[in-house]
């Protein structure tokens, strides 16, 4: 049995310069040759059964724990989401209510009613005061005060009574007599108007055309709408 391999081996070694490797890779270029060597037979390691069970159990445990954690965090997220949603809903509701309220209050009709409630009346003739020299632009006239509804609660008799009692109305309200206030305002405005006219003549501004750019006016806030009353 052992003779034949020997024979074969000896056949190979007939050329002493050639190693086994060189023989195997004969005809292959030197640079491409793999560096082959003999290895010892593979050593099979037997894993112990106990170790395997532990690893599987460990993986299972980690998996379960992971699922638990994910579920917990999802539930937590859901709670937070629900909470924020209801908070958002509440804020949105508040905002909507307030928006509606503001819009209703800032409507011109509501503003007018409030202004009238405070005893204000619309001005019938626009006029402006130019601040640097006090020139009055436009012809101010006292507004007609017949529309004041505030003292409506009081009859004329009541107003007169209070006036007799010596109560001087400081502001529209109790004892305020619109007719008297109008007359007074009228008088004041007329005196003021006369004064202004004189003033204008002295400065000589009025006789010349005054060119006022509306832009400049608003930018420098030189002019302001004035309530004549």
């Amino acid at each position: 049995m052992s003779a034949a391999p020997k024979l074969e081996f000896s056949e190979i070694t007939e050329t002493p310069e050639q190693t086994v490797t060189e023989y195997a890779t004969k005809g292959v270029r030197k640079s491409m040759r793999a560096n082959l060597r003999l290895v010892s037979p593979m050593r099979v390691q037997k894993a112990s059964n106990g170790m395997f069970v532990l690893i599987v159990l460990g993986a299972l445990g980690i998996g379960m724990l992971g699922i638990l954690l994910i579920n917990t965090s999802l539930a937590q997220g859901a709670f937070t989401l629900g909470e924020l949603r209801s908070q958002y809903g509440e804020l949105a509701r508040t905002e909507a209510t307030l928006t509606e309220e503001v819009a209703a209050l800032s409507a011109p009709e509501a503003l007018e009613n409030q202004a009238r409630g405070l005893g204000m009346v619309p001005s019938s003739s626009p006029a402006f005061i130019r601040i640097p020299d006090g020139t009055v632009l436009g012809k101010p006239k006292p507004a007609k005060g017949a529309a004041i509804p505030t003292p409506a609660d009081l009859t004329a008799g009541e107003g007169a009574e209070m006036a007799v009692a010596g109560e001087q109305p400081g502001a529209p309200g109790v004892g305020y007599d619109p007719a008297a206030a109008d007359a007074q305002a009228n008088e004041e405005a007329q005196t003021a108007g006369a004064g202004q006219k004189e003033n204008k003549k002295v400065t000589g501004v009025w006789s010349e055309p005054i060119v006022i750019e509306a832009k400049v006016v608003s930018e420098n806030a030189l002019l302001d709408a004035v309530s004549v009353q």
Binding site: E100, A107, L137
Partner: protein, 590 residues
């Protein structure tokens, strides 16, 4: 026993040969049965996975998939100062699952004070076996909060929204209104439905049996495209004053209706577009159908004397006359077999062109127009924008009418010269004066100043188109003539505003009787003016239709003009120029 086989038995030990036939038969049948079963299973598997695979998978997904619409918030309509004119607020619709309610009467009692509805009516809506029933719609979030705090079984709510117009009637004719579904049905709510309404989005998700979304499953979300906000050129305050003034004047004169247009001649912006009677956008069904329209744009009428401004401007611009040109005006003028007269019968008078404007002489205007002829006159009227859409993109606009020159009858020329036989809408009529106010350059009017997108980007409209109608110098001359109308001896002294230079023109146009087809007693009294006349910042046009008490523009419309213009000058902080008005002669000779 003999059938039993022992594997380890040596062959030679048995006397009889082993019968392998039984074994192989059983095994074979087992294999066959198993194979058949596998084939059946495989076939079923192929059927489920391959043949009907897609269909079944999608059916299963459909069971889990839920799609919910994400409503788009309707845009706000604002005035030029940012005051909200139309807003959308969140509301709740209260619903009931009748099958869950054991004591409808008690639930009705509990809801009644919050909803402000009768308990018995509520109870009937809560009684029965229906799983879904509306109890109340458009309930404010506050009230729903109170209801939900009661924890009534079977009472639920769904999100809804409601369009509200905080200022009610203010500019209702421009804004329009929405229907029950929240879509625009009139005015700009209708014209800009697509822009205001936006596009609703939707979310598609996989839900569990309880309806809750499965968190890890994919969901497809298309965000809603919110509606844009539209900012109008309307100034709420001026609009309010104009609406009040015209409503008052219409009531006082017993007129059928009235209109006010306030315009900034330089930008073409319409600051107020008022009409009376009007309606409340919150409740359009409460008003007469004919009051829902925007008369300043949807109604065309014969302009009458205010149209003389176009004729005389054309005459001046053609160099055929100046404001001082003397014209002998007879008492009667025969043209096209028809006698034309001035409103007040008189003999021949000597008027300047300026006097013709101030006295609003029909005959004088015809004579002046004859200096340029009908072809040129028609060209000018068209250039002033008559018979052409205003460009306001308003639904149902009536663009007015002027017959083509070649179709004019012998009486067309004289009547068109003084404002009959052609029709205009109120905005066009105001536009003629705005052109004069803006030195002869016609600026296309605008009602929308900008569009604000949901992401905050602001879209400015294209710059308005402009048309040169008459020269700067001609416009200036026409303006000084318009001042004579308001000045002493003019037809509209009631329009003057102390301290300001005001120019304008009255009109008392005859209205075609719809029954007889001829002119009746009915008129449209008008006044269109500008202030300050030497540097016009405002053009205000007032029209009062079919008045019963009073007839002339100077007596009915001029006071409305004065009221609105006085307020607007103050509100917009337009000071008087301080210059003195020229006194042009109205007559000549003796």
């Amino acid at each position: 026993m003999s059938k039993r086989i022992s594997r380890g038995q040596p062959r030679g030990v048995l006397d009889t040969p082993i019968k392998l036939g039984n074994y192989s038969k059983r095994g074979l049948s087992l294999i066959v049965v198993t194979s058949i079963m596998f084939v059946v299973f495989a076939a079923r598997l192929v059927d489920l996975q391959v043949v009907r695979g897609g269909e079944l998978a999608s059916a299963a997904l459909d069971q889990r998939l839920r799609t919910q619409e994400i409503p788009a918030q309707r845009g706000t309509i604002l005035d030029t100062n940012g005051t909200a004119l139309a807003i959308t607020v969140e509301t709740r619709n209260v619903t009931a699952d009748q099958s869950m309610i054991e004591d409808p009467a008690a639930v009705g009692q509990a809801l009644s004070p919050i909803l402000g509805a009768d308990a018995d009516i509520l109870a009937t809506r809560l009684t029965g076996e229906r799983r879904f029933m509306y109890v109340a719609k458009g309930v404010s979030p506050d009230k729903w909060q109170q209801i939900s705090a009661l924890r009534l079984p079977g009472i639920f709510s769904e999100a809804a929204s409601r369009r509200i117009y905080p200022a009610g009637e203010l500019a209702a004719n421009v804004i329009g209104f929405v229907g029950d579904e929240g879509t625009g049905l009139g005015g700009y709510e209708y014209a800009y439905e697509k822009e205001l309404g936006g596009t609703p989005g939707e979310i598609t998700y996989e839900g569990g049996p309880g309806g809750r979304a499965i968190p890890t499953a994919a969901n497809i979300r298309t965000n809603a495209e919110q509606g844009v906000d539209i900012q109008l050129t309307i100034d709420s305050d001026i609009q309010f004053v104009a609406q009040q003034a015209i409503a008052e004047a219409v009531a006082k004169a017993g007129a059928s209706d009235g209109t006010v247009v306030v315009m900034d001649p330089q930008s073409g912006h319409i600051l107020a577009l008022a009409t009376a009677p009007t309606f409340d956008s919150n409740d359009p069904t409460m008003s007469d159908q004919k009051n829902l329209k925007n008369r300043p744009l949807t109604d065309a009428f014969e302009p009458g004397s205010t149209s003389k401004v176009m004729t005389l401007a054309a005459v001046i611009n053609e160099g055929a006359a100046t404001p001082y040109t003397p014209i002998k005006v007879p008492g009667v003028l025969n043209r096209g077999d028809k006698d034309f007269r001035d409103p007040t019968p008189r003999g021949t008078i000597n008027l300047t062109l300026n006097g013709i404007m101030a006295k609003s002489s029909n005959i004088g205007t015809i004579l002046a127009a004859e200096r340029i002829g009908g072809r040129k006159l028609s060209k000018y009227i068209k250039k002033f924008g008559i018979g052409e859409e205003t460009g306001l993109n308003f639904p149902g606009e009536n663009k007015g009418f002027i017959p083509a020159y070649d179709d004019w009858s012998p009486t067309s020329f004289p009547t068109i010269a003084f404002g009959q036989g052609l029709s205009v809408n109120a905005v066009q009529a105001a536009g003629v004066f705005a052109t004069i106010a803006n030195d002869g350059l016609r600026v296309q009017p605008a009602l929308v100043s900008r569009i604000i997108h949901a992401d905050g980007t602001i879209q400015e409209p294209n710059p308005p188109t402009t048309t040169r109608v008459i020269s700067r110098e001609s416009a200036k001359q026409v303006r000084s003539m318009l001042e004579s109308v308001v000045g002493e001896g003019g037809t509209a002294t009631g329009a003057s505003i102390p301290g300001y230079r005001v120019g304008g023109k009255t009109g008392t146009a005859q209205v075609v009787n719809e029954v007889t087809g001829g002119y009746g007693r009915d008129v449209i009294a008008s006044f269109i003016g500008m202030a300050p006349a030497d540097n016009p910042q405002l053009v205000v046009a007032v029209f009062i239709s079919k008045p019963k008490a009073g007839r002339y523009g100077g007596e009915l419309a001029a006071p409305v003009f004065k009221k609105v213009t006085s307020y607007a000058l103050g509100a917009l902080e337009i000071p008087p120029t301080g210059a003195k008005a020229p006194r042009l002669a109205l007559t000549f000779g003796g």
